[in-house]
């Protein structure tokens, strides 16, 4: 019962039981406020049909814990899918790199992989931006988790939760995400300036394919974050926002890992 996901239930019961007297009560969450959202994600209750997992509505309060668990499970599936897409592209990369092709002029088999002069400095800066955005999205995730945990009691008169920390981590992440995409756009521009296009040689084909493929997936994450930010403006329930930010944060970390992998692939397996 002590988990933040169950606080809405606690609050509902408290309202039913004590009515307005509750306003005078002292609220003591079992999870320290400052620790909410940190450390390990909530442990899902034991599965295998041991309890009602139907996402039903107990006492009229939506079961946000169940929804979060479900959204995270969905996100695992998304990550598996994206992994399969990039594993396929990697295998194509390795196969294409090793292919010999017949050259008439020398009457011999040669490797036509070619080379591509990647703008390493710019890509390095972009990597740094993505790394920072991963940190900020994690802070945003913890922030919204805390807000969700405290939302049921923060509205009661007489209940003080101390100084509100409302640093706009979500906004910072969105800005950094856009920054990364703009940086990638500039990197593609630099490649064009250096005479490398998607069809210049197989090496440049894959450089564009992998980086654009990653950018498209990251843009999807960015849209989810924008949705969450929009939900805040539209005063949607904080729990709904929390679910969106939480799963997008995990996706965002995965995008960072994927980018580091692509960076290494383009750098090491040239």
């Amino acid at each position: 019962m002590g988990h933040p996901a169950n606080f809405p239930l606690l609050a509902q019961k408290a309202r039913e039981q004590w009515g307005t007297e509750f306003a005078m009560a002292t609220y003591t969450p079992t999870t320290p406020v400052n620790d909410a959202g940190r450390g390990k994600p909530p442990v899902p209750p034991p599965g295998g049909g041991e309890r009602d997992r139907g996402g039903n509505v107990p006492n009229g309060v939506p079961d946000y814990g169940a929804r979060l668990r479900r959204a995270r499970l969905g996100m695992v599936c998304v990550v598996v899918t994206v992994c399969m897409i990039f594993i396929s592209l990697t295998s194509a990369y390795i196969v294409r790199r090793g292919l010999p092709t017949y050259e008439d002029s020398s009457a011999s088999y040669v490797h036509d992989w070619g080379g591509v002069r990647l703008p390493w400095t710019l890509l390095g800066i972009n990597t740094l931006i993505l790394l920072l955005s991963s940190v900020s999205v994690e802070l945003a995730r913890r922030q919204v988790t805390r807000q969700a945990a405290l939302a049921p009691v923060s509205g009661f008169p007489g209940v003080s939760l101390g100084r509100e920390r409302s640093f706009p981590w979500l906004g910072i992440t969105v800005l950094l995400g856009f920054g990364f995409l703009v940086g990638q756009w500039m990197a593609w521009g630099q490649l064009h300036d250096a005479g490398f296009y998607v069809n210049t040689n197989p090496s440049s084909s894959f450089a564009f394919l992998l980086t654009i493929g990653h950018a498209v997936h990251l843009a999807g994450g960015l849209m989810a974050l924008l949705w969450a930010a929009g939900a805040a403006l539209l005063r949607r329930p904080v729990e709904t926002r929390r679910i969106a930010v939480d799963v997008t944060a995990w996706y965002w970390h995965f995008m960072l890992a994927l980018w580091v992998y692509i960076f290494a692939l383009l750098g090491l397996a040239r």
Binding site: G49, E50, R53, G54, R70, C77, L99, N199
Partner: protein
């Protein structure tokens, strides 16, 4: 965000929200079913044109006129693609999986209803795009459903290889995205929305089959999507992933150094699991129906589950057996060959368990049971030629002959279709609240079963005799003229079998409006969909949450008051 919790209380009332952009998994399941029904009639019409052309090559046919060799290849390509993607993948998983899975596990809906709706409409767009390929300049592509480059990767390689082929690839890519959304939903729903007491090992085998199919889809469709993107880049942006230096009509194309085999590897890494994506739900339905209508528990429930998992696992190890002709190393071929034959083991376990289920059963030969028996029959007949083709030395002889056409049509084509027939007749009462006509069902079953064998068994003989597949015309080739009577026989059988499908269609629509009213549990079955009303309410169980106390196939339990115990019945004394 609409979730099962929020849609629980209020059903939408407007026509568009209720029937078009519905979030209800039951409506979406029926939408998928009718999409597949439309697609199957399109695909069947194309096959009819091909069969007629093979024996009357100069005939001028309605709608299409005279069929030229390239038109024949277009028909072949579109028949294969529409049938594999929009029928065999769409109906069993998207249709029945969507409708039945949440009810069978006791959930109010799928885990992500909005995603479910998007998944259907994305599939629908994919279907519209592929049909559009018929109507663009140059017509539909002619590279076969497998889309091998360089034919598929060079715009000027043939009449349909321009915009038609681009639409074909785009349609497949759209379908991949839709299937990935569906797979995500199925997996999450199965793992997270089971009712109290519905442990994994109490799930009906249908649920297991949809769950495993979803896992295969999740791992396979991403690969096809990647492969398709590379193909689009080769076609439209001048890259050389798949295309080596090629000359078309004396002109050197701009590509060089690509490998057509790279496509084959990526395609078949998807393509072989796709075969199981088509057939696994049929296996689940057959298990469900055979147990119900034999009034016996399924023989070896756990073995059935593990066999399906093994088939799914091995499905990812055997893609190379489609490529024995590619000049691969004999060591690779040997490995793929042995792994392919390994699939015979779980397949045989399943077959013997189906037979064991029927053995000494008090069998009710109603239409769903007939179709399920038909499924087993076709699965065995089509499956037995699998180990032949798994031998590289035999496959090199048989690969480009009618033997392969006969093999895959029996096992993944018509067997899966019989799974769909069994599912339709079994769940029709629950879906539409009325019973299908038994007599029409039997007539349709016997004509279709006999017709199927009459069409596809002779193909094995033609293949052994060396008749090549994909050729549009045999009548002018002297050494093949002796085989023409068999082709003629097959065409007549196809015409009769296709005509018989209208019996099914009439039965379907007549019963939907005029059939006798169905009770909640017309088959005396045990699983959760039969515990709720017919048709089920918006949230499946009318605000109640089922609690499961029994396994899915408890028929003929000694000491039980009836010959079946429903999954929600109270526990029996003695610890059942």
């Amino acid at each position: 965000m609409a979730t099962p919790a929020t849609i629980h209380a209020h059903a939408p009332q407007g026509f568009i929200r209720k029937y078009i952009f519905s979030l209800d998994h039951k409506v979406i399941g029926i939408q998928y079913f009718f999409l597949a029904l439309t697609a199957v009639f399109v695909g069947m019409f194309l096959s009819l044109l091909m069969r007629i052309h093979l024996i009357w090559p100069t005939a001028v046919l309605p709608l299409v006129g005279e069929i030229k060799p390239e038109t024949y290849l277009s028909l072949l390509t579109m028949h294969g693609t529409i049938m594999v993607f929009f029928v065999l993948t769409t109906a069993p998983q998207g249709g029945f999986g969507n409708y039945v899975l949440p009810i069978q596990i006791g959930a109010p809906d799928m885990a992500f209803p909005v995603l479910n709706m998007l998944s259907f409409w994305t599939t629908f767009v994919g279907f519209v795009v592929i049909i559009a390929a018929f109507f663009v300049t140059g017509g539909a592509p002619l590279h076969g459903w497998t889309g091998y480059p360089p034919l598929s990767a060079v715009q000027s390689a043939g009449p349909g290889e321009g915009l038609g082929a681009d639409l074909w690839i785009t349609s497949i890519a759209i379908f991949c995205i839709a299937s990935l959304m569906g797979a995500l939903n199925f997996i999450t729903t199965t793992l997270d929305l089971r009712a109290k007491g519905m442990t994994m090992m109490r799930m009906p085998l249908t649920v297991w089959s949809w769950f495993i199919t979803a896992m295969l889809g999740l791992l396979a469709f991403g690969v096809l999507l990647s492969a398709g993107i590379l193909l689009l880049l080769d076609r439209n942006f001048g890259t050389s992933f798949y295309v080596p230096l090629v000359v078309v009509n004396g002109q050197i194309m701009g590509h060089k150094g690509g490998s057509p085999l790279l496509w084959q590897h990526l395609f078949w890494f998807f393509g072989h699991p796709e075969v199981y994506i088509a057939i696994l739900p049929g296996m689940g339905v057959a298990s469900q129906v055979l147990s119900t209508f034999s009034r016996k528990p399924i023989f070896g429930y756990k073995a059935m589950v593990y066999a399906m998992l093994a088939i799914g696992f091995f499905g990812f190890m055997v893609w190379g057996h489609h490529m024995f002709m590619s000049g691969m190393s004999p060591y690779s071929a040997f490995t793929f060959s042995v792994l392919t034959m390994c699939i015979g083991v779980p397949s045989a376990i399943k077959t013997f368990n189906w037979l064991g289920t029927m053995l000494h059963g008090r069998i009710r030969f109603q239409t769903p049971m007939l179709y399920a028996i038909g499924f087993v029959s076709l699965f065995v007949s089509g499956g037995l030629s699998g180990p032949f083709l798994a031998q590289p030395v035999l496959d090199i002889q048989l690969h480009d002959t009618y033997f392969v056409v006969g093999h895959f049509h029996l096992i993944m084509g018509v067997a899966a279709i019989f799974g769909i027939f069994a599912a339709t007749s079994y769940w029709f009462p629950k879906m539409f609240g009325r019973m299908m006509n038994e007599t029409l069902g039997r007539i349709h079953f016997f004509i279709t079963l006999a017709g199927t064998y009459a069409i596809f068994m002779p193909m094995h003989y033609l293949g052994l005799a060396g008749q090549t597949r994909r050729y549009s015309q045999f009548t002018e080739v002297a050494y093949q003229t002796k085989l023409i009577p068999l082709q003629t026989f097959m065409t007549y059988a196809a015409i009769i079998t296709i005509a018989a499908q209208f019996i099914f269609l009439i039965n379907l629509f007549w019963s939907m409006f005029k059939g006798p009213k169905a009770s909640d549990n017309p088959w005396d079955a045990t699983t959760l969909e039969w515990t709720t009303t017919t048709p089920p309410p918006h949230d499946n169980f009318g605000g109640k949450t089922p609690v499961v106390n029994h396994g899915p196939y408890e028929y003929g339990v000694p000491g039980a008051p009836k010959d079946f115990i429903m999954q929600t019945d109270p526990p029996m004394s003695g610890g059942h």
